[in-house]
């Protein structure tokens, strides 16, 4: 009895996986979770209100009261960095959630329906793919006006083909496997097969692609804010902080720009490596 119990295969536990040589993945996930927690609990963690400044104490270096110093309006940089995490992460999250939804819907339906519909979708994706997201976002701002809305819509459009192309390729392979046919023989409807079998089976690929896309979306969105076309002052956002701090940097107090730069690099680097690891695991599993 006890022998049989020991033979039952169980998925590796958290600790086992960490021992098996994936510590990097856990460290990076930990960093990202920490940053998300900072964003969520910014009001509790931040030592000062983000827009509260004392112009007489502007451009100070790090000190006991202001750990990362103050910006050109005398606002606490650490507090703004913590609050800035909210908008800086919210934008790319929205973009990736929308883009992934559209991409999966487009790719799965085009693979399922096939024929001319598939051709048309493939052509549409190729055309959209030809436009750099940044340029699309700038044009959207010219059309709708500055803010978070225009770039989020434009970048959603730009990232949809990026995810959809990969999903389509994988779903196409999956579509012709025997299990889909056997599901049809059993009498499952197309919707049921797509939702219960096809989408769950392509989801690891979707996850890898969406994770990598998150990093680029964050960079594009921060670039738009940096250009002054996205989130508007006095709101705190990392891209905006980089540009806000630029004149201070030229005058010898680089703290605001550089700390925002470091946050962007840390998040993008972590997300990139995580995405690559997920993709690698998918390849091994395939």
């Amino acid at each position: 009895m006890s022998v049989v119990e020991e033979l039952v295969l169980e998925p590796p536990t958290f600790v086992q996986r960490a021992r098996r040589g994936e510590p990097l993945v856990y460290v990076l996930s930990g960093i990202l979770v920490l940053i998300v927690l900072c964003a969520l609990f910014a009001p509790l963690l931040a030592p000062f209100p983000p827009n509260h400044g004392n112009i007489l104490a502007a451009n100070l270096g790090p000190s006991g009261a202001h750990w990362l110093g103050t910006d050109q309006l005398g606002r606490d940089i650490l507090s703004r960095l913590l609050y800035g995490a909210r908008l800086s992460l919210l934008g790319p999250t929205m973009i990736i959630v929308f883009a992934t939804t559209f991409a999966v819907a487009l790719a799965i339906s085009s693979v399922w329906i096939g024929g001319w519909f598939d051709q048309a979708v493939a052509r549409l994706l190729d055309t959209l793919f030809a436009f750099p997201g940044l340029l699309l976002a700038i044009l959207a701002v010219a059309m709708i006006g500055p803010g978070l809305l225009a770039p989020v819509i434009a970048l959603t459009l730009a990232y949809t083909p990026y995810i959809a192309r990969v999903v389509r390729t994988v779903a196409l392979r999956e579509r012709h496997l025997a299990y889909v046919e056997s599901c049809q023989v059993v009498g499952l409807s197309g919707w049921q097969i797509c939702f219960r079998h096809l989408i769950p089976n392509v989801s690891p690929i979707v996850l890898a692609q969406a994770t990598i896309a998150f990093g680029s979306a964050l960079v594009d969105l921060a670039a738009i804010s940096y250009l002054g076309l996205g989130v508007q002052p006095p709101q705190a956002e990392w891209g905006l902080m980089v540009s806000d701090g630029q004149s201070a940097l030229l005058n010898g107090s680089p703290w605001e720009s550089l700390s925002a730069c470091v946050m962007i690099i840390v998040v993008v680097l972590s997300v990139n490596i995580l995405g690559e690891r997920i993709a690698l695991r998918n390849e091994r599993a395939a």
């Binding site: 940044l134 700038i138 044009l139 940096y226 540009s243």
Partner: protein, 312 residues
């Protein structure tokens, strides 16, 4: 020849479609052009007159055809902000942007492909190249710009901090060096990763082992057998990269205060100067499509399998 024609026609269709999208999107933007041109104290009557003078009261499609016809001849209408022709504003700026992108392209070629070749030839360099490219690929252009300014213009004053110079060509190049590096950095890392994967894949193939078995030296094997075949995907990626540089130049020009068409685009968007925005958007899209088409054609020239229709 048929392939060539197909590429050209495809590119033309993309340009035509995107020109329509650009026009449709921006002629619906807030702030009617005639109202802006007429100024603050305009009466409805003068607005109407101005609208008539610039053909703004025409139906949408005829305005589009008129605009496109002008654009083909390099006439993009009047800047709403400066009241002079858009073309005269763009002409001096295009050269600067072109120089910036060319310089960045050369840096990418040397750094990106160079490090990939070095890492393939000398495995000891593999680790540093992996770490370096992984790190730099995560550095956004504007972040790279600020860090480079802090390091090389403020800490050690090797390069000027901001701006363009109107002086001699060497002086202009000197002003554009830091911006070009900022623009090139993450793309060079991207190219390095792709090229490395391609070269490594090629280096493990059987024909390479055969060449080695025939007694060729390592450098002959690399040049004749690995590099030639491995170069094919690199060309495609390099085309994509140049296209990305066109978009990235907007950010770099703004960061360094360079007066090129990229920073002018941002300025025009902020000033709601739709005529300038449409002109620059169209120019950038055309560059983008042309570069992609050229990369397609080079790919086709390099790979006889594609040319003969055998596919890959």
């Amino acid at each position: 020849m048929r392939q060539l024609a197909r590429t050209v026609v495809g590119a033309l269709i993309t340009i035509l479609t995107s020109s329509f999208i650009v026009f449709a999107a921006l002629s619906a933007s807030p702030g009617n052009a005639a109202t802006i041109l007429a100024g603050n104290r305009a009466t409805p009557k003068t607005i109407k007159e101005i609208a008539h003078r610039y053909g703004l009261d025409q139906p949408f499609l005829s305005r589009y055809v008129h605009w496109l016809g002008g654009a083909i001849h390099g006439n993009f209408g009047i800047s709403l902000q400066y009241r002079v022709s858009v073309a005269s504003l763009l002409k001096p700026r295009i050269g600067t942007t072109f120089m910036l992108i060319t310089l960045a392209g050369i840096i990418i070629l040397v750094l990106g492909i160079g490090s990939a070749i070095a890492a393939t030839r000398f495995p000891r360099l593999g680790m540093p190249v992996t770490i370096g490219s992984g790190l730099f690929i995560a550095v956004p252009t504007f972040v790279a710009a600020l860090i480079l300014v802090e390091l090389f213009a403020l800490q050690v004053s090797w390069f000027p901090v901001l701006g363009t110079s109107s002086g001699s060509i060497t002086d202009r190049l000197w002003h554009l060096t830091l911006p070009a590096f900022a623009l090139a950095l993450s793309w060079a890392a991207f190219v390095a990763q792709i090229s490395r994967a391609s070269l490594r894949g090629e280096a493990n193939r059987e024909h390479v082992q055969t060449a080695r078995g025939r007694g060729l030296t390592e450098s002959q094997v690399f040049r004749r057998h690995v590099l030639r075949n491995g170069a094919i995907p690199i060309v495609t990626v390099f085309g994509l990269t140049i296209a990305g540089l066109v978009a990235g130049s907007v950010v770099v020009e703004q960061a360094f205060g360079i007066d090129g068409i990229g920073s002018f685009l941002v300025q025009s968007v902020a000033a709601k100067d739709t005529n300038c925005v449409m002109a620059i958007a169209l120019i950038l899209v055309v560059c983008f499509v042309v570069v992609t088409a050229i990369a397609d054609m080079v790919y086709w020239l390099l790979d006889p399998r594609v040319r003969s229709g055998l596919g890959r």
